[in-house]
């Protein structure tokens, strides 16, 4: 497929990049959020080249003294931990893990949620009943015991953290997409598509999907934000992957060190990053909310 044909078919799906930038740019906060996300993504992509030290490397300052629990300075811009680790390097490297987990579980969960919502909403009846009761069961599933069991069974690995997050997070998007699908399938253009000979699958994925797309993108942003928070909580409780560093994991190490009341910079840096990234995602989703629900637009 040539680049031109590719961009044409993407645009047909409603995924043209220019149009999406246009949607985001209508709202100043969304635009700010968008650029913060771009910045974090760049940091994540080039993390090994940006970070001056290894995450768990004991550091000595220029005078040769052990650099434990240093407040931010020129030498250590975000300070150090009680074991002399550079928080700036940790933060940069952790961005990669956090974004990876956030994007992967956000993406997988929206795909699962969208498909279950579309299929349940379109077919209705027994299919709907089975899928929605499954969703209800997941609503009753408390996250922490669930991830503890999963990790006890399989070990503290990144994949299982992602799996646990995905299994919990898709439920809300499935419900919302289902509701929207039910509303759209009543409309006459769906009857028209059927009268013209479109099959059920074609109606679902060619006719309905583009119409739930703004909502889908809104929930994709929510899911990513939720995944990041969930991952941080799981890591903070010690259920993250011990091999890779993440923002939640940094807070977990602070907790373990017992220096919570002393090292404000150790606490501040990962927290601010989490808040900044999640808020940015919510800001961006706000722009899509206006597309999905035109009544929110400025009057």
């Amino acid at each position: 497929m040539s680049a031109n044909a590719m961009s044409r078919s993407l645009r047909k799906l409603g995924l043209g990049l220019k149009e999406h930038y246009g949607i985001i740019a209508t709202n100043k906060l969304s635009l700010l959020g968008f650029w913060i996300i771009v910045l974090f993504t760049l940091v994540a992509a080039f993390a090994p080249w940006i970070a001056p030290h290894e995450p768990w490397e004991m550091l000595f300052d220029s005078k040769g003294e052990f650099a434990a629990l240093r407040a931010p300075s020129w030498e250590f811009p975000f300070g150090t931990t009680h074991l002399g680790y550079d928080l700036y390097s940790q933060l940069v490297l952790a961005t990669r893990t956090t974004l990876l987990i956030g994007a992967t579980s956000g993406f997988i969960s929206i795909i699962i949620g969208a498909n279950i919502g579309l299929i349940a909403g379109y077919y209705g009846g027994k299919v709907d009943e089975v899928l929605m009761r499954l969703t209800d069961i997941l609503y009753g599933m408390p996250f922490l015991p669930f991830i503890i069991i999963l990790i006890a069974l399989f070990g503290r690995k990144l994949e299982f953290v992602i799996l646990a997050i995905v299994l919990i997070i898709w439920r809300t998007s499935a419900r919302v997409i289902r509701a929207q699908t039910i509303a759209i399938k009543q409309r006459q253009f769906i009857a028209m598509a059927r009268a013209r000979g479109a099959s059920d699958l074609r109606i679902i994925y060619v006719h309905i999907l583009p119409n739930v797309l703004p909502l889908l993108l809104l929930y994709a942003a929510f899911n990513i934000a939720w995944s990041i928070i969930t991952e941080a909580s799981a890591s903070f409780l010690g259920f993250g992957d011990g091999e890779t560093i993440s923002w939640g994991g940094m807070l977990y190490e602070l907790w373990l060190s017992g220096k919570t009341r002393v090292a404000w910079w150790w606490f501040a840096t990962p927290s601010v990053c989490i808040i900044l990234l999640v808020t940015s995602l919510v800001f961006v989703s706000r722009a899509y909310e206006e597309v999905a629900n035109p009544r929110l637009r400025k009057r």
Partner: protein, 332 residues
């Protein structure tokens, strides 16, 4: 020869009372008999007009013929073969042969599709043509319905006016090269000033491509213009059928007379007898077995309330009315 036959076609909708009513008061379900015992044929190359008030079962009939809804009873035969329970390829072939034009041009076009994609959707869904061939046909049909493709192909429906959208709807039906078109009040949502244009377009296309049509409307003056034959329906029952001129100039059934008497005449000095019809349009919920017009009919007696005459389809050109009292009413 008849391309489409409706034999004793019926559609009932169940209204279930709430759970508590059912459990404690023993209420049974009631039924809306939207279409009841409809017999009619559409001949080759013919336009059959269906007229009647809101809720008379016109749209339900169209939906059933388009295989979007199953009848509760009776049969639909297309070129002699029943279409009920068609599956797979047979259903696809039928869908291609019979195309529907929808009433509401604002609701019937997918807002996320470009005009060219809306028109190309049928052939794509059925895998009729692809690539250059499809593009060529889409452009040809858009030009034929009066939408120059250079200007319209890449637009979205919300950028078009109602009349233009209805042209898109017509193009998307005609590109399939159907043998029959079902037009469910295609003009009712349009401004009076553009109705004539769409009507002319539909007539031209009919003459050019030669297909049979069912044209549904509540506007008798339009039907008198386009239809070869007219079927009059009231609350789901067929009241009268016959050649268009006959039905309009010489109506037999008391309901048809009232309906035609209600068509406005653009002459302020014209006076005519007010049709002698009492009461209001009711709903066909659990109706009695007889003629549904009986409660409002000035000529009705007991026999009308118990027995209904079904029209026969032996001679399509015959002008017939489903009324016991024809001899008594006479003509005029």
């Amino acid at each position: 020869m008849a391309i489409l036959e409706l034999a004793n076609l019926s559609r009932h909708f169940e209204i279930r009372p709430g759970l508590l009513d059912r459990a404690f008061k023993g209420k049974a379900s009631s039924y809306i008999k939207a279409v009841q015992g409809l017999n009619v044929t559409v001949e080759d190359n013919e336009i059959l007009g269906i007229a009647g008030e809101s809720g008379c079962g016109k749209s339900t009939t169209c939906t059933m013929i388009s295989a979007l809804m199953e009848p509760s009873d009776g049969d639909i035969r297309f070129k002699g073969r029943s279409i009920l329970g068609l599956k797979g390829k047979a259903l696809k072939d039928y869908r291609r042969s019979v195309q529907m034009i929808f009433q509401d041009p604002y609701e019937s076009l997918n807002p996320r599709f470009r005009i060219a994609d809306i028109v190309a959707e049928g052939p794509r869904a059925l895998g009729l043509w692809r690539g250059e061939e499809l593009d060529r046909r889409v452009h040809a049909i858009l030009s034929a319905v009066g939408l120059p493709p250079a200007k319209y192909a890449e637009r979205f429906p919300h950028e078009l006016s109602g009349g233009e959208r209805q042209r898109v709807g017509i193009a998307s039906a005609l590109i399939m090269e159907p043998e029959m078109i079902i037009a469910d009040e295609p003009l009712s949502m349009l401004d009076v000033s553009i109705r004539a244009g769409i009507l002319d377009l539909m007539r031209d296309m009919q003459a050019q491509k030669g297909f049979a049509s069912i044209y549904v409307s509540h506007d008798l003056s339009i039907l008198g213009n386009v239809a070869d034959r007219i079927l009059i329906m009231y609350l789901g029952q067929a009241m009268e059928v016959g050649p268009a001129r006959e039905v309009i100039l010489n109506p037999k059934h008391p309901y048809t007379k009232a309906l035609i008497g209600a068509v406005p005449v653009p002459d302020p000095r014209s006076r005519r007898a007010v049709p002698n019809v009492r009461g209001d349009l009711s709903k066909p919920i659990d109706p009695p077995p007889g003629c549904r017009f009986a409660p409002r009919c000035p000529h009705a007696d007991e026999s009308c309330k118990t027995k209904f005459i079904a029209l026969d389809t032996q001679d399509p050109q015959k002008h017939q009315a489903a009324c016991h009292k024809l001899a008594e009413i006479g003509h005029g």
